[in-house]
Symmetry: C2
Subunit: 280 residues, 2 copies
């Protein structure tokens, strides 16, 4: 192994390393360690507190699947709240929908946004100057607990359940998301790997089911997370995750690398071990 | 990082490491370096020539998806040929189908089978003593080129297109597989990651389409391969990959961790970038 490597180690038993051609940025913000570097394998990469977050080459596997299942099925998409997602990729996919009138993005760490604006511009392509974007640097846990605003869709783009994202994994937070959504609102969140973070995955399923009455995990894969299958979760009191709005799909599909109507239907199929455990 | 680690490095730009609790076996066979070790993350693991092949914890993501789409749709499954798969996992899934009368397994390296029988018994559970198994140590490239035997299904469980598996990736080999299959026969093969081995993936699609007239990739994910999405390919002159035999699914589904009828339908959905390129 030649040159400089960035290696993420998970629980002292598993590691994923990327050779870095260039280190672009390294900073300790108020909340976390922020690193950006360029790699031959995946292009530019963002890491927070040593955990790989996103890369130019495979971010679409994550952002398209986080955003479009909710945005292509929610009864209304006028007002969207994005929580986290400081790299801009989630807001970019939201704003691709011409039906979205306003996208409020609440990111706790302004420094992540500024570093990504400079060093990872592809992820925020078209985002930062879009007049529909309302970017706020604040603690989303507090914001959803206190705001009088209401949203049609909430997208949670948080990192792992450690560090600044910890409060985003829990029943009180989900109750507050339900409050800022109307009864027809849709909540989509990244919900970890059922292999690597098994307990977190099943806790999210149980809590979103209890709070919203209905929720469903859906499945894909993200190379950078090194976890085999990856999951997101769709929770709504009334919206049907399979009731696809084909007009909205048609409006975005030419710009998607992963998502399409067939992938939408397919991603909700549950591997048997998950189906059995959720049916208990 | 404490203790001993086994790290696979891909093209000097990407690495996947597993901490080993115990090294179980290390041997240089006539064909390759064989290593078996036990890990806290994935249980026992097999590596060949330094490339991670399979692990107790996630092998079902690979073996079930390699075998069951073909075995649950082929018009006939009396005679099945398994190429490679020295760990036994592929033959195990084949032999779970009560309709299979004979499973010929052709593995080039007897030492892989012997080492896995000793150190990875879960993968060959029920296989080695099954009277339907006809285990042969031979070069499958030569065997399919010369044999007079005929099969209903051929499953290719080869490693990456380097080392002893190299001859398994190519038009002449696919022509010979077509020859040993009747017109209704089904060929299923692992076909790499479209991200990591993009050219190999698309070459396999092109060549199987040319040779069989029809083929389709299908999709899943295997943690150990660290590649995001993983693919297999279904090729047949006449069989329809979506024409599921529900009786056969019912006979195996209680023992599957991943595969079920919904996963079968879902796995053929193509991410947009692949669909576009295959449609050219």
């Amino acid at each position: 192994m030649q040159g400089h490597w960035f290696t993420e180690v998970f629980e002292d038993c598993y590691s994923l390393g990327l050779r870095a051609k260039t280190f672009l940025h390294s900073e300790r913000s108020e909340f976390q360690q922020i690193d950006l570097f360029d790699t031959p394998m995946l292009g530019r990469v963002l890491a927070l507190d040593g955990i790989l977050q996103t890369s130019e080459a495979d971010e679409k596997y994550y952002h398209e699947m986080l955003v479009h299942p909710a945005l292509c099925t929610a009864p209304c998409i006028d007002n969207v709240l994005v929580i986290g997602g400081g790299d801009g990729g989630t807001a970019r996919e939201v704003l691709r929908h011409p039906g979205v009138k306003r996208c409020v993005m609440v990111e706790i760490d302004e420094r992540v946004v500024r570093a990504c604006q400079e060093h990872l511009p592809a992820l925020g392509d078209g985002v930062w100057d879009d007049p529909r974007l309302d970017l706020r640097f604040a603690d989303a846990v507090n914001m959803v607990g206190t705001t009088d605003e209401r949203f049609d869709v909430v997208i949670l783009d948080g990192s792992d359940p450690v560090g600044p994202s910890e409060g985003l994994f829990g029943r009180t937070f989900y109750e507050n998301v339900k409050r800022v959504l109307g009864p027809d609102g849709v909540f989509a969140l990244q919900s970890e790997s059922p292999t690597v973070y098994e307990d977190v995955f099943f806790d999210i399923q149980r809590m979103t089911q209890e709070v919203f009455g209905r929720s469903q995990p859906y499945f894909g894969s993200v190379l950078l997370y090194g976890a085999g299958i990856w999951t997101w979760t769709y929770a709504s009191q009334t919206a049907d995750p399979l009731a696809l709005n084909l007009e909205r799909v048609a409006a975005i599909e030419d710009r998607c690398e992963i998502y399409n109507a067939q992938i939408h239907a397919a991603c909700f199929a549950q591997p048997s071990f998950i189906r059995r455990r959720l049916a208990r």
